[in-house]
Symmetry: C2
Subunit: 284 residues, 2 copies
Amino acid sequence: MKKEKRKGTAARPFGKRIAALQRSAGSLLCVGLDTDPQKLPLHLRGKKNGVLEFNRRIIEATKDVVCAYKINFAFYEVLGRDGWGVIERTRGLIPPSVHAIADAKRGDIGNSSSYYAAAILKTMDFDSVTVAPYMGRDSVEPFLQYDDKGVFLLALTSNEGAFDFQYRTGGRRRLFEEVVSAAQQWNGARNLGFVVGATKSADIRAVRTLAPDAPFLVPGIGAQGGSIDDVVRYGSTADGYGVLINASRSVLYASSGRDFADAARAECLRLNAAIGAARTAHAR
Amino acid sequence: MKKEKRKGTAARPFGKRIAALQRSAGSLLCVGLDTDPQKLPLHLRGKKNGVLEFNRRIIEATKDVVCAYKINFAFYEVLGRDGWGVIERTRGLIPPSVHAIADAKRGDIGNSSSYYAAAILKTMDFDSVTVAPYMGRDSVEPFLQYDDKGVFLLALTSNEGAFDFQYRTGGRRRLFEEVVSAAQQWNGARNLGFVVGATKSADIRAVRTLAPDAPFLVPGIGAQGGSIDDVVRYGSTADGYGVLINASRSVLYASSGRDFADAARAECLRLNAAIGAARTAHAR
């Protein structure tokens, strides 16, 4: 596995690192490797290494047109103990030029949290990880202690259930705003980003106001109906970067045939063009 | 792995199943298998199957004096891909008479949630799982669809960070109360229980009032300082069951020598006696 060189000084803040990565990749696109064993092309379905082979082809075909891959652990854990090996091997296929996100949504108290962090950020050497905020500060800080790594804390998620608690108001602020404000006071906040769903576009702006420099991982375009234009308009940092726009199904299953990898690349290029148009329209 | 027989009719509510199990076990005690590779007795430390062997000895020595084991995934995931195998094999060592809890604190949107649920409740055949509530209804319901299984939803956790968001008030209720109330309206709520930390004893009563029949998984006695007496007094259901009182470190590391399993059993007996005394004192 790759190992970023420590330079003896503290790494730059997470937002600066993501901006530099996006600038050099020429893309704000993150491809979600939510690889569903039941949706593999027929020639790979049911094969022993089908999921890994699928991921390998997707990564080879798209690695020069994306800035990040996001590996959703649920789709691998369902494979049982082999699944963990597939996560490790898929992560190993992601080149150093592309940001590798562990979409694991972990969260536990201090001691357990430290082990989850070590498993994902050290042993598997992911560049960042998604973490749930419900258990508060001491459940998140252990993930923030890795100098050259990042955390995307769940703030406002793209699903319907987001309305159950995240929008709950207490005093002047909604819960997701409270999470964003509080977290920026925690130890290691320079390594902090947020998950902000594209389906809640009016509120992406609220999060950006509270966290001007933090990178946002933005799921919910494509199948879930979020608007690329809104995400770029309301989510970008002042320098025009800082949103990692995730697409999963629309890329992975662009074709169900043997040409799936070429079709995935074509879909990435289409998304890059749409993102590029939005960036031009809303350049500050 | 064991397979509970489906009886053709829906399983009883989770609370009834837990009460029956506790009655026949003669114990409310849950032992947390938070097995730390760095804290193994010297003769097992660094050995290839050290953690599994440790768990085997602990389970053999305590399985007739507890009602549940709780496997904290963080301590296994830190072992890398082997860790997942150790979880599976440890789970296989737990006899059908004892409830097997996957303390995994998962939570993601519908599709991913379904796969996490399948991995834990179907493939690994755990009896229940801990789930985080932040993402709301559609992130939890997939876990509630297994008729003879249960979910412990995080309500009020035992750590300091619980004060960051869980106590946040909006209108008349605090967030943890809102979580408990809302969740009971969700599909599959008959399979629902809650995590309620022993360190917040005054508020265990508030949760019990809102959820009279749900089982509570209660961490935080022992090292964290929660009171067994308060947990029994404020947490029990009307029939005197319904709290699974978890102890981890005080049992696992009762001795650091070769007698660790005997010492663990002795600590379980001591805890059972303390719980029994509290039950007698507060019998209704």
